[in-house]
């Protein structure tokens, strides 16, 4: 029987990975829930306020983006724009080449994953090392992150120990503390040898031009402290009006992402280092990237651009918990990815049009979303679009028969009467693949068809009124 691509991934996922993903996402969801409950009488109201802040910012993006540019330029940063990922990659490469830099370190950034910056830099002879522990392991394995916040949620300590051994970082040792210490030592050398640090940004405030970077490891801080040049790649949708809005957004981000009141390091950067400061970049470049975000803004799914990449919707999603991240075949997995990935795919929409269907529309993603994105509604809009664009849908049973039955009362009544015959037919041996696969794990109850009609008629003394 034809399957949705996501089902194929689930079928091939090792049970150990599935258990690890399930356990870790469930724990984080529980922590998030407890902390929000302890700290707020009405955390729902706060989510809705955060959603309104982000929606307002998006619907005034022309104003706020220009204001952010102005604020940054006034403080000595250089602002660039890139319509496509290719343009952004080229801009980064040109900045590095003109400064004669061949080694860079990177802190975790979804947008650089989106445009495959590391591959591009490697092709141009520039070594780019991921400094976030999880991202570094993804990089040396030639793998892809499977979670927005926890990139190696799909790997065991044994996998990591083997990768470290292969990279010459010492003998096999799967103790998480030893793994972390080895990464610390290795990364020190990389930080000090790098000419530039590349980061993303969690937010940009229009009024002061501050780029907000949050990490738990401190790697973004270390990427920048010894570097001469800071290059930040930022999606144009990251802008918020003012520093004051961050009070709402930062309080929700840490709690939603990892169950922390605040992430360990929250860095606010709006220019090159201060003149009295010996360490830190002398040059700061901010590249604002479109990469089809303006298309999303023009679509009926613009709310997805509110996303602050906390990963709470992945953690709570029953589909993500079973499927893990690679099943989504794109940079953004889980419910947010099921909306964003097809939208950012452009003319490859059809290849990812199955993702919006991989949902029971249970609504949990919307309930946990710190910016109240109506993800189930957006999934439905994308299903409609796939239907309108005649995207084939393998694994969907033909419904024409039921449509005929359900729209003709006479045929329906006849079916209710004669349906009782099904109790005596060997249904599992009929040549209908959908029925066969359905019956493999289930048994049908005894036929009760037509009972509703007779019950309805017998109400109120049998006159049906």
């Amino acid at each position: 029987m034809a399957k949705q691509p996501i089902d194929t991934f689930v079928a091939e996922l090792p049970p150990t990975v599935q258990r690890a993903v399930h356990q870790s996402t469930a724990t984080t969801t529980e922590k998030r829930y407890r902390l929000l409950g302890d700290d707020y009488a009405d955390s729902d109201a706060l989510r809705k306020l955060a959603g309104a802040i982000r929606q307002h910012a998006l619907e005034h993006l022309d104003t706020y983006l220009a204001q952010a540019e102005e604020s940054l330029t006034a403080r000595g940063a250089k602002v660039h724009y890139a319509v496509t990922g290719e343009e952004a990659n080229r801009a980064v490469t040109e900045i590095l080449q003109s400064a004669g830099i061949t080694k860079v370190v990177k802190s975790k950034s979804m947008v650089t994953e989106e445009i495959h910056l590391n591959d591009y830099l490697a092709e141009h002879g520039i070594e780019s090392v991921e400094s976030d522990l999880g991202e570094y392991i993804v990089q040396i394995d030639g793998d892809h992150p499977s979670h927005i916040v926890r990139p190696i949620i799909h790997k065991t300590r044994g996998d990591i120990a083997r990768s470290f051994e292969r990279e010459g970082l010492g003998d096999y040792n799967d103790d998480p503390e030893t793994i972390t210490r080895r990464a610390r030592k290795l990364m020190r050398g990389k930080y000090l040898a790098a000419g530039a640090g590349i980061t993303g940004a969690n937010f940009v405030t229009a009024d002061t031009g501050r780029l907000v970077l949050v990490t738990n490891e401190g790697n973004s801080r270390f990427c920048l402290a010894p570097a001469k040049i800071h290059i930040a790649l930022v999606g144009i949708e990251k802008v918020v009006p003012s520093d004051a809005d961050l009070a709402v957004l930062l309080n929700l981000l840490g709690r939603s992402a990892t169950g922390q009141q605040l992430t360990v390091y929250t860095e606010f950067i709006n220019g090159p280092r201060h003149q009295n400061q010996p360490s830190g970049p002398e040059e700061m470049h901010v590249i604002f990237l479109d990469n089809r975000r303006t298309e999303v803004l023009a679509s009926d799914c613009k709310e997805i651009l509110r996303c602050i990449r906390c990963g709470a919707c992945l953690n709570v999603c029953p589909v993500y918990r079973q499927a893990s991240g690679h099943a989504y075949r794109s940079v953004y997995p889980g419910p947010v990815g099921a909306v964003l990935s097809p939208l950012l795919a452009g003319d490859k929409f059809k290849e990812l049009a199955d993702l919006p269907k991989a949902s029971s529309l249970c609504g949990a993603c919307n309930e946990v979303c710190p910016v109240d994105i109506p993800i189930p509604d957006l999934l439905l809009r994308l299903r409609r679009r796939a239907h309108d664009e005649h995207v084939p849908s393998p694994g969907t049973p033909p419904m024409e028969g039921f449509a005929l039955l359900g729209s003709h009362p006479l045929i329906w009544r006849a079916a209710m009467t004669f349906g009782a015959a099904k109790d005596y037919l060997p249904l599992d041996r009929l040549p209908v693949p959908y029925l066969r696969s359905w019956l493999k794990k289930r048994t049908l109850p005894k036929w009760r068809g037509g009972k509703f009609r007779s019950w309805m008629k017998s109400r109120h003394g049998g006159n049906g009124k």
């Binding site: 999880g134 490891e217 009141q261």
Partner: protein
């Protein structure tokens, strides 16, 4: 057309058809404060409680700080001139280094640097480019102790955001550097300090 012009034109095309645009929501100061904050009377005491809860070691006197450093048998301790008076008794008990340079990244075991402020609500230390003698000194050593003036403690995260200093680099530190990337197991001291401390003066 430049990339900038193209992007602004596309934003205009996307937003122009909207019958109305989402108005700017009112964000009352303190709307995101934790609800228990109003029951707390003393900001400094709250800071110590919250900082300790996230694993930051709090000292309330230079003497306590010195005793602890001595007990830990730390090697070289970097103390900038700005903190010379405060740490007058350190010399001779621990090995004090007064200058910091990039070449010493792996040599210095502990560093004291002045903080720009703190946040009681979250137990957060605030550093800026202007308060920090060297970003690397406050980051690379295994132990970092930020010296916080009690009067610089903000009550809430919102208060700290309302009083952001004019500095190109502000960093909030809420506990030691940590990761849970390997099987969700918490390990401290990934790239930054494994021991984050503060000294309140």
């Amino acid at each position: 057309m430049s990339a900038r012009e193209q992007i602004y034109a596309k934003i205009k095309t996307a937003l122009d058809p909207l019958p109305e645009r989402e108005p700017r929501p009112v964000v009352p100061r303190g709307v995101a404060d934790a609800q228990w904050l109003r029951d707390e009377a003393d900001d400094v005491a709250l800071f110590v409680k919250r900082a300790s809860a996230v694993g930051t070691k709090c000292f309330t006197s230079a003497g306590d700080c010195l005793s602890w450093l001595f007990e830990q048998q730390v090697g070289k301790v970097y103390v900038p001139d700005a903190l010379a008076d405060l740490t007058a008794k350190f010399d001779g008990i621990v090995q004090v280094v007064r200058q910091y340079s990039r070449g010493q990244v792996d040599e210095i075991d502990a560093a004291l640097t002045p903080a720009a402020g703190a946040i009681a609500e979250s137990g957060t230390i605030i550093l800026t480019d202007q308060s920090t003698p060297d970003r690397l000194a406050a980051l690379a050593p295994w132990t970092h102790i930020a010296v916080i003036r009690k009067e610089s403690v903000h009550r809430s995260i919102a208060d700290a955001l309302a009083a952001m200093p004019d500095d190109p680099n502000i960093i909030w530190i809420t506990g030691p550097s940590k990761t849970a990337d390997v099987e969700g197991i918490l390990i401290e001291g990934v790239h930054g300090p494994g021991v984050q401390g503060c000294l309140l003066v």
